[in-house]
Assembly symmetry: C2
Homo-oligomer: 100 residues x 2
């Protein structure tokens, strides 16, 4: 498995709009086992995105999906900064759904 933990800050006031775009296609990405978008309650414009994929290749391939590249181009103007981007190797757990 392959995992990502990322923190980004939205342009002020645009956090919900950015989250909506990120969540749109979350259940339709082949090989994606988990994709959660969360607010940081301590920072007004910050979002955490945690992802689990069956492989790094599936994650990479997802970036070329029409739905994802469209979401990236619409989301980009709403992103002020990327604060953390951590790759992980998930070992197991609960709630790692079947791949789409």
């Amino acid at each position: 498995m392959y995992g990502l933990i990322g923190k980004m800050k939205a342009v002020p006031g645009q956090r919900d709009a950015l989250a909506s775009i990120l969540l749109e296609g979350a259940s339709e990405m082949p090989g994606c086992l988990s994709y959660v978008v969360a607010q940081d309650p301590a920072e007004a414009d910050a979002l955490w995105i945690t992802e689990v994929w069956d492989s790094q290749a599936s994650h990479k391939a997802s970036l070329s999906l029409p739905s994802v590249s469209d979401a990236i181009s619409r989301g980009k103007p709403l992103i002020a900064s990327f604060d953390q981007y951590i790759e992980t190797l998930p070992m197991g757990g609960h709630g790692i759904g079947p791949a789409a």
Copy 2:
């Protein structure tokens, strides 16, 4: 929903043992929608734990479950440090399983 993103370092050489203990009861905690334990490939002894709960109360209650308090007492000696502990408010996503 209520989320946690935590990073801990195991005592050198004890990461797998600590991860096993953390994973033991992961699918049996009431209100737990997602619980993933992952290695940090960039740090030999570091683990990331990402959690999604139906409520903060469910998370708090889980700490009193016999299986969890037993795991905590066995895991504690294997933990060298807690490096990050971030509370989040998950908005949605994929792979947020049904609560046990």
